[in-house]
Subunit: 326 residues, 2 copies
Amino acid sequence: MTVKYLALSGGVGGAKLAFGLTHAVPAEELGIVVNTGDDFEHLGLHVSPDLDTLLYTLAGINNPTTGWGRDAETWSFMGALEEVGGPTWFRLGDKDLALNVLRTHALQSGTTLSEFMANMANRLGITSRIIPMTDETVRTVIETELGPLDFQDYFVRHRCEPVVQSIQLQGTTDAAPTAELQEIMTADALSAIIICPSNPYLSIDPILSVPGIRDGLRKCGVPVIAVSPVVSGDSMKGPTSKIMRELGIPCSATAIGHHYRGLIDGLLIDNDDASLEAEIADLGIAVKPSDIVMRSTEDRCTVAKTAVQFAGELGRGRMPNAEQAT
Amino acid sequence: MTVKYLALSGGVGGAKLAFGLTHAVPAEELGIVVNTGDDFEHLGLHVSPDLDTLLYTLAGINNPTTGWGRDAETWSFMGALEEVGGPTWFRLGDKDLALNVLRTHALQSGTTLSEFMANMANRLGITSRIIPMTDETVRTVIETELGPLDFQDYFVRHRCEPVVQSIQLQGTTDAAPTAELQEIMTADALSAIIICPSNPYLSIDPILSVPGIRDGLRKCGVPVIAVSPVVSGDSMKGPTSKIMRELGIPCSATAIGHHYRGLIDGLLIDNDDASLEAEIADLGIAVKPSDIVMRSTEDRCTVAKTAVQFAGELGRGRMPNAEQAT
């Protein structure tokens, strides 16, 4: 299997585009690098929220309402945990537990996180590659008005309410891209890199913070495009706009362009933000306005197709003789 | 809290009498020493089948049909485990998982098994003490025609089908009774020791194999009685009679007397076995025939009362001046 399209994704928002990409390109040609900065130890279990969201979404067994967790989930475990005074702020569904228990056991037995996810994806009939950003422990810590908070503590227990001062990543010094990601980044097969509309600060930056990934992506020599997570001055989901405000960054597609400047060649923005085209272009970033809000399965496929086309156009633009050469 | 009555128990069968004992004596005066030779690591979780059966039974939240596991259990975890090809031979219910996950986490955090169980019992409003036989790792291994099998492998995966050649206990050398059990055995408060009608070979022998328990119980100087797990030449539940047959032991209340000879002062047998009274008495064991089959909650309380009375009679018999002295 040769990965030709590489996506970078956080959880729910990114998984929507990743799902679309599995229909826009041959699924087996898609690799998705997933944030593991949100991973944490809970009740002794290794929980990987973003990886599991990708896995469940691509397998078609995710909760279609929340976007995370399992379909037709049950909550008996949480009820029994509550009976004996166990912690209930982080809710683990009964089905979801299976993956968490298996992963914890696998990691304790010496299996790497990437091997485990590849195995699970295989079991669930997923032909795309779901690739943790690293097999090492990198953790996102949110510096807030209440002091530093572990990611899930901030995100779930405190429901993103504390004002964010900065975002730190622990463990990056010793981290490296997984072997598979290194192989993909140095192989000739790759034709495009697509940054999903995930939170740039909480989901994509952790991926880019792993030594070797940001540089590795640039060195691939293929178009890198991002799909803006901001439309009409607001994030489509999650706390992106709140965090941008708190960090003193204007919440606009232009700010997303600024954030990814030097990494991306193109930014897919919403038609509603078409007026920003010139100022984003001034950053040296190609811009394509389109309808990028993903409400339905069809939307996901359409946006994914547009993103792939956009990357293709940039690829041809970059290599003017490419068509004649082939 | 002072323990005056100490019971020795395995899982389902023993838990029935233990439940009765919580009604026959003040519940807070009852301690139950529970077999942990059946404990095992499964999917990285520390599973303690007998301890949990006691906990659920005394809390009134056990499955009344099977005798083990939780009431109104759900099985979503197992379903999800099966989807990804996980092992399904040992079935962990969703509610039951809560205790197993919490226990594993507690043990990994340095809590002892006895501390954890005391905490859980407290949370569930149980005033009797549920005491693991040891905090160390002792494991029952069944030597069979198929070779040595770990207990749950024999009991659950192989459904007790392989012919048993002998029963081994691993880890006893380094094991010791828990601090609480040592305290109870050396305190003056104890007035009776009751061996529940659990499997003598699979459930009670592991307890007695922990260095210090068998001797400690004898040295308490209080009556030790057993309730026979065999009635009319058959075990009331589980594989006791099959194992006795395979080990070349006649399945009778008399054989139970032989087995516990030197430890017990009295054996409570069924009225149906009254004809064995003389031959058991010949072993130097006092005998009391009664109705010992426990089908209903009422039966459990009645058998427990009879057992406590029997021990009381033996106590007075042993100390003829006891009544005058008080």
